[in-house]
Amino acid sequence: MGQHTRLIFDVSRPGRRAHAQMPAGEGAGPSVLPAELIRHRAAPLPEVSELDVVRHYTRLSQLNFSIDTNSYPLGSCTMKYNPRACHRLASLPGFLDVHPGAPEASYQGLLECLYELQDMLGAVTGMEAITLAPMAGAQGEFAGVAMFKAYHHAREDYGRDEIIVPDAAHGTNPATAAMCGLKVREIATGTNGDIELDALDQALGPRTAGIMLTNPSTLGVFERRILEISKRVHAAGGLLYYDGANLNALLGRVLPGDMGFDAVHLNLHKTFSTPHGGGGPGAGAVGVASALKPFLPVPYVEKAEGAYRWQTDSPHSIGRLAANGGNIGVLLRAWVYLRMLGREGLQRVADHAVLNANYLALRLAEEGFDLAYPERRAGHEFVISLKPLRDETGVTAADFAKAMLDEGFHAPTVYFPLLVPECLLIEPTETESPEALDALIDAMVRVRDAALSDPEAVRSAPHRMPIRRPDEVLAARKPDLAYAPALRRD
C-alpha cells in the first residue's frame, strides 16, 4: 500500500529501545575481559521500538513479489507453490531446538526424517547413496566434481584436469569446475538444442575428468542422445555429472542413474518445493553411483542397530562442506513435501510441469511468438526469442520483462541461456492452473501489442511498481553497499 519506505536507520532515534527484547539484568557479575577488548560505544545498529521494527519490515515485505502473491514463470528456477505444511512442520519446537552437538540419541526423530529423505532421493535419482550436506546446488556441484577428482586420483589417474560443460550450462557449472581447480572445456550446442557429438568427441580425452549436464538442458529440451553421450564419456574414462536443477521435468519418469550419470545434485528448493526465501537457503543433496560412494562428503545419516547416526568417519571422503549436517530445516521441508507427494504423486509433478510448458509454448507460438526450438518438444520449460520484436520496435527482452511486472506477473528469465538472442526462458511449473497460464498468455500478448503500438511505454516500463527502473550503471560505478550515515564513526 505504502510505496516507498525509509531505511530503518532513518526511523532510528538515539536512546529508543525495543525494551521487551533486552535482558532485564545487564549481566552484572565478575568479568574476565580486559578493558581494552571492550568496545568503546555500542554497535551502530538502529535504535527503534518493537512496533517500528514490525511496521518497517512488514511494509518492506509488501514491496516484494512472491509465489504467495504472483505467478513466477521464471525459467530454470522452478518457482512452484511452497506448501505451508512444510514450513509449519519444520518449525516444530522439537526440530528447531536441537543443538547440533546434542547426542544423536536425543534427536532420533529428526534423524529418522533425514534418513527417509535420503532414501526417497536415492529412489528418484536411481543413485546408490545420498548426502544431504550440500547447502545449495552449487555446493552439490562442488561435491560432485571434487568426487570425480578424488575418484580419478584414487585410481592414480592424475592427468584428468578438464571438465566438459555445454555452452548452455548454468554459470555455477563452470564456476564450480574452476573452484575445484579444473579447466573448463565448453562445447557447443547444436541448432536443434542437442549437444554436438563431434564437439564432444573432440573434447574427450585422457584429460577428461568428466562432463556436467543438465537434462533437460537449460534450453528446456531433452538431450536425446544422452545414452550415447554417456557411453562416449565413460569410454574416455570420464564421469557424468547431472545438474539436477531441472529434475522437475522428469520426476518419477526418468532416473538420472538410468541415463548413465555417476553423480547428481538436486536443488531441493526447486523440484522439492522448499522456499526460495528471497535468495535462499536452499539445499543441494547429492547422490552418487556406488563407485563414488567412498568419496561422499560427510556427514550423512546411517542406520545401525535400529538407531540413526551421522556418519563422519569415511577415510576417502572429500571432506566436510558445512559446519554441521547441512541446511536441516530445508531438508525437513523437502521431507514433508515428499511424504505428502508420495509415490503416486511423483510422476504427476513432471507430467503436469511438462504439460503446462508445452501448452504455453503451443499457445504462444499460435499467438505469434518465436519458439527457439519449434521442432522440439518442450520439457518443463522453453525458450522464446524476442529478436524479431526487438528488431521491429526496439523493445528488448529486458523491456518486455519489466512490462510483465506491471501486468502482475514476475518476468520470465531473460538473456539466459546465453545462446539465444533476446530470449525469455519460461517455466510455468505444475502448480499453476490452466487459468493462470491463460492469464499469462493474455498478459504477454498485451505487452507485445503494446510494444508494437507504443514501444516507448514498454521501454520505460515498469510504471506501476514501487520503483521505476533503477540505475544499475550508477549502482556499479559508485557502489553504495552500506548506509554511510549509519556507520559514522565519530
Partner: protein, 466 residues
Amino acid sequence: MPFVPHTGEQSDQMLSRMGVSRFRDLYDEIPDSLLKDEPPHILPGLDEAGVTRIARERAGRNEALLCFAGGGAYEHHIPAAIWDIASRGEFYSNYTPYQAEAAQGSLQLTYEYQTMIAGLTGMDVANASLYDGATAFAEACLMAVRCNKQSKSKRILVARSVHPAWRKVAHTLLSGQEIELIEAPMDASGRADFAPVDPESGGGFAALAVAVPNYLGGVPDIRAWRARADRARALLIVGFNPVSLGLLRPPGEWGADIVCGEGQPLGIPMSGGGPYLGLLACKSRYLRQMPGRLAGRTVDKAGKPAYVLTLQAREQHIRRSRATSNICTNQGLMVTAATIYMALLGGEGLRRVAAACHARACELVAALTAIRGVQRVFDAPFFHEDVLRLDRPVAPVLAALAEEGILGGIDVSGEYPELGHALLVCATEMRTSEEIGRYASTLRELMGRNLQSLGSAPCIDASDPL
C-alpha cells in the same frame, strides 16, 4: 494429486490440444528404455494431516536437553516478531531479487543488513550472506589469496583455536585450488604459538587467520596478529561471533582485512545445525574480490532511492569460470531474520545480551570448577564459553549428564588431544542461576561416583601434554 490444480478434464483437454492422448506421449523425445511407467518406490502419499501426525510424533520424540553447549551454535532468545515477519509469504516465497522492481523489500532489507554487519564489525562492506560460518571462513581464505597479489604464497596460517569444522570445510574447499592451511598451534594459555610457524619465514603466507572469540571460547588480543601480518605482508582474516560484538571491540578496529562469522546467534534457531548464515565483510579495497551477492543503493528513473543487486560481474552467472565463487543461492531468509534481530536489539540490546552471556558463563565456569576434578584448561579471558579439563574421559560424563536431561557441553578432547579430557561449556543469556546450579550439582554428583561406573579409566597419556 497434491499441489497440482488441474482437473482431470482440463488435463485431458490440454493433452488433446497437444495432439497426444496420454502424459507418456509428452516424453516422446526420450528414449523408451529410459522411461518408467511405474514410479520409483517411495512411501505412498499422505494427506497433510497424516504427515502432521508423523512430524509431531518425531519432533516430540526429540528431547529438549538443558543446553550448555556452544561450539558454533548457540541457544539465544529469538524474539517472536522475527519469524512472524520472516515467514510472511512475501519474504518466504519470493525469488532472488534479480528483478529489482519486484523485490524492493528484500533488496532494501539486504542493504540494511549489509550496513548492520559492516557497523557491527567495523568493516566497510558486507556481502549478502554465504552458507554458514564455515564456508564464510573458506571463502575468506580464497578471497585473501586473490586479494594479496603481492604475496605469491598460496598458504594461509590459521590458529588452531579456529573452529575445527571451519578448518575442515576450508580444507575441502581450498584443496581444489591447492591452497594450503597451515596450523599455528596453541601455547599453554591458548594463544597461538608462532615458534613452529613463523609467518615471515618460509614461503610466506597470503593471510593469517584467527577467531575472536575462538572455538574454545577465548578472546585473544589480535593486535599481535595484526602486527605479524603486517610484517609478513599477509592479510588478516578474523572470525567473529556477532553476538560477542555487542560487547567486544570489533575486528575492524583492530585492522582486520576480512572478517567472517556464523550468523546463527542472530535470531536463527539451532535446528540441528542449519540453515545458518555465513557472514562476510571486508575493507572496501577488497570489494571486487568478494564472493556472493551484494545489494546496492542507487536511484530509479524518477530519481527516487532504489535498491539493486550490483557488481554482479564478480558472480558465476556473469563471469562463469572466472567468478569469485560458485555461490548462487545463499541464505536470504536467514538474512531477513538476522536483520530483524539486529534491528530489535540495537546496539544497547546486543550489548546487554552479550554482557548477560558473559556473566552467565563466568558463573558457570566458577560453579563447575568448584567441583573436584574439574579445572580450567587456560587461564585466559573468555566470552561465553570456556574449556574445562576433567579428571576422566569426557564422553561418559556427557552421556551420564544427558541421562539427567543436561547437554553438558562439547567433548573437544578428540579435536584437541593436547588438552586432555577437555570439555567445552557454554552459557548464554538463556541460562538461569538455578539451571547453572542444577548442572553443577548433577556434575558434582557424577564426579563423586566411582570412575569405573562412568565406563572408563582416568586419563593417562594425552591428558596433560602442556
